[in-house]
Symmetry: D2
Subunit: 342 residues, 4 copies
């Protein structure tokens, strides 16, 4: 990227909630600019028709999704598409000279068989799957710097991995007995209206869903496996739906190998995250409202009887999606990691 211009960003799948959030953050980013918005909608809408809140802030008409047409017009593509579509586009985007940050799950699981098992489709881009980097900067910053393809993590895995990885790495906890009980706002379900997310059904309601079958369970495990010497992690994951727009809180139950103090646990976190701009360690409680619209992950811990309980809060659309993508972009292109995110 020449030094005398701003980074050029193309957003593909521009009508998704994650796209809106990416646009909102990029409008505050003084070293990047949006140069293309691509959508499958016909006819191609002005972005302010799709998101009326953007009127007067971004004057762009969407264009069809055509990787070749982005050549020379964008340095990086943000892919806000459903699982399965992303892997059809990535090869052409890379060929057109763009680096790619993919919001879907297509490049998160390294094992094609595992992808096929959990996503019910064969992976069609094994070549790029091999060298894709999982984009959790707090854990993989160095590899992200040089990556041409970053798999932007899922929202639940982000909050869970940041709360577990340091303790696993330090050898403090049992890797086969990890319980992640999490709750999310409804924007995590996307923009498509469904009967169960009709306002009168969701309001004044709280429930679990996909208990033990959610695809993020395996993503959390694969993200954490690397911190266990010679073994594998086992995660039990229970997501819940909260009648609010945004936010994820993970309540994580961990079993220490031997009795441990909460001070020691917090010390391990402090050492891991002392230079991290987006992880805030709290002594008081963490709350989704306190991370809303920010890229922070707030973490605290308690020791109760024989367990460590870690509480980890993020905004599912920011640190769980668009904010993390921009953080990855900043790392990839050598920008200030906090640009656009404070």
């Amino acid at each position: 990227m020449p030094e005398n211009r701003r980074l050029r960003v193309a957003i593909i799948g521009a009508t998704a909630y994650t796209s809106r959030e990416t646009i909102r953050l990029l409008l505050q980013h003084d070293q990047a600019e949006i140069t293309a918005l691509c959508s499958r909608r016909e006819p191609q809408p002005h972005i302010a028709e799709v998101f009326p809140d953007l009127a007067g802030r971004l004057d762009m008409v969407c264009e069809p999704i055509d990787p070749a047409a982005l050549k020379g017009r964008a340095d990086v593509a943000m892919l806000c598409l459903p699982n399965g579509l992303a892997m059809q586009l990535v090869p052409d985007l890379l060929a057109a000279g763009l680096r790619v940050i993919d919001f879907s799950a297509d490049y998160r699981l390294k094992e094609p068989a595992e992808y096929a098992q959990w996503y019910n489709k064969e992976h069609t881009d094994l070549e790029n799957l091999r060298h894709a980097v999982y984009g959790l900067p707090e854990l993989h910053r160095e590899r992200i710097r040089t990556a041409s393809l970053v798999a932007n993590p899922g929202c639940y895995p982000t909050s869970a991995a940041l709360g577990i990885a340091p303790l696993l790495k330090s050898g403090l906890i049992e890797p086969q007995d990890l319980i992640v009980d999490a709750a999310s706002g409804i924007s995590g379900a996307g923009r498509e209206p469904r009967p169960e997310h009709h306002f009168p059904e969701r309001h004044e309601n709280f429930e679990a869903y996909n208990v033990g079958t959610h695809r993020h369970m395996v993503e959390i495990e694969r993200t954490l496996d690397g911190y266990v010497r010679g073994g594998k992690t086992s995660v039990i994951f229970t997501p819940h739906l909260v009648p609010m727009e945004r936010g994820i809180l993970s309540t994580i139950y961990l079993r220490p190998h031997q009795p441990v103090s909460v001070e020691h646990v917090m010390q391990v976190f402090a050492e891991t995250y002392e230079d991290e701009p987006f992880v805030r360690l709290r002594t008081g409680m963490v709350r989704t409202a306190e991370v809303a619209r920010s890229n922070f992950c707030d973490i605290t811990a308690r020791v109760v009887k024989s367990r460590i309980i870690v509480l980890s809060a993020i905004d599912n659309l920011v640190k769980g999606a668009a904010g993390q993508a921009i953080q990855n972009m900043n790392v990839m292109f050598g920008l200030d990691e906090k640009a656009g995110l404070m």
Copy 2:
């Protein structure tokens, strides 16, 4: 109806929100019982599949909509169907010996041309349209007693008419300058999921809709016309959507012919409603939360400068639909008007 048995009720269109509310209230009614639930769904579901909250409370499987099959099995049909479908069924239901309470708008407007204009379809049952009675018991109780077909009023018209009719009848106010500014919970939009009622779109949002074009505007006018000697009323109606499940508040701006005190206004209401079990006159403010799940209409008034402001609150699903239907049923069949509703 024989004296030694309970009134038998068939609910047609059993999967609607208004049906659920009707069922909920009838389960508390000691002089009535549900004998049939009819639905267009295929295959016919158990009602607890449609509304899981009813499991353990009502053990009934839906049946197809077939008026003839209800002959001898039900005394009254509650029609919870969309506009246009009701008028296709009413003749056969009456022929099968049932009296009918129709929740749709099909029999509310007496002029076929007006129905055609506002509902974009020709009325196909002019015969029954002629003798249908508009089911606002506080205004038309005597005619409801003997009606075979009751047009259950719309939710907004109920709250508006109860707040305006007494003042109009008393000759206190100008009939051509009626402004009804109303706000409703989202259940009023029905059970069908739509993009604009997707939880993240509706939550933390407030807006007007169908300004000056809502079908209830003409229904309010026709309901009030009868109280104006030789003339017609003119209503400006602006509905709004509130991010809550249920409740309607109408804020009504009226112009008195001459200066009037709030005490006088409240006195007019008191005289009209002194024996009404479901109208509560308030000196303090009225609130949708205070009428939620009840058949009450709470009313108060203020005089501000040259205007009377009437505030009228109901639960859109109860006094605005299911509760009023049961109140009508009680009147039609000589039951205690409050049965099932207190």
Copy 3:
């Protein structure tokens, strides 16, 4: 109680949310009537000033709290008072010939030392503490029948105990590794306004609180201890606050002694609860919205890897307070257990 009259109920602490809920349910109870409402407020308010939704439904003025004055006027007292106040009144209420259902925690923990430790006060009524019966009818129905003093269970313990006791009793699970992750609507925090429950702070927010220190943790343990031969249970309890009015969902993580199928787990529940009118076993998911305003406890289970996950939903104000109190009352006085509750 003479057979020819209705059961007379006094509600003490009549301005609490739990009192309102008790009133609401008793108004539907055809074998009981409210004969006194007692409050500490000065001057004594009409109940419709305290709860405007009750206007037109209950015409009673509160009276001071005076057990002697209730003699001969009430058969049972519902005590909706804060912890610590209840035990000051119970001896006099019993002496006045009333049976008592206490909503507070004063008679739930049998060990005075444990009460002192968790509630920071000495127990002052050891005599009655000894013979008080913990009022979970599904677990202690026979003892409740003859009890003069019933300790109405806490909301979280109700949902947790109903989800765990059958599996513990059947010897299926490890009693020292019980994790209860629960979430509650805000009415559980009572009616007193506090900064953290100010609408703008609570709306669009989700958080845990009192992690490992909530008083219901020990109540759950003591309730479950009886099902473990010669041992004690150990519970880790994490409550959360959901931005909704009412409802509790407990997500319970249990460790079976050996691999078990979900069918077997559900079978154990089915055998325990087959005749219970208020426990509904679900194969699909349970939701707080589906138990709202009802006395049901909805339960389902899943087996995930090495754990049983039980999901248990109640309305915190009904099965978690007022409804359970009425269920206890029905059992104590030989009424139909479902009266007022369906």
Copy 4:
């Protein structure tokens, strides 16, 4: 202000919701910086204790309120204090060389008698009251440029005045028959917990308040009087509370002198606001969600029978408070008016 440094801002009353919003916006402002946070709290807290979401974003400890101590440290003071306190501080702040933007109502009404009547206190700073400028940039930009004291408008008056002034100025409407029916999110009530704003009371509730007695009624009138030749305006104002955090929608009923088309009305708005960066004219509906967290005022109009209905939406904390204050600040100090606000 020297050209080579950023504008220095002191926020006084730093613990208010409006202060938090001002801080949030100033952190995005590249030509201004916060140099002091002043509060009445003892002991003086770190701002991240007051607003935990600011941890990691603003590292400042509050200081006592002492105008002299701000001399030379700040160019402008943002006064986020209750009515009555502001006028005690303004003289000293001006004397210390700061220009002042006052969020309270102390300098909004020019007539001391009117202030005394509506705010129940005598005005104690008549000197500055005289030259204070009402800070609605779209209406008074030129006078704001040179003002040393700006009275930042109320939230309701902002949304109402922007929707009415152009039509009044154009002579299109009757100035004595203005009805403003408005609804606001709960943050408008401030941060102090009160029983009526306790979450369970406010959630799932909609109501009017202060009907015909709200102080913003007279503020709207005085703001609009200037557009009527030789006369005065008369406004009927009815505010409502919506169960959401933020947002105001005003539904405004106006009587044109003679029949008018909606195109003509919109044309008048277009001519008035064509160069305004923060007023968006909509042909579709306006929604509070679409202006949330932005400084936009969205306006549309309809003609219904004999009335013009104007709908005007703002975020009460932004265009209705903090955003407008920053817009005023930008105008006062010759910065780009949009700085920090897009």
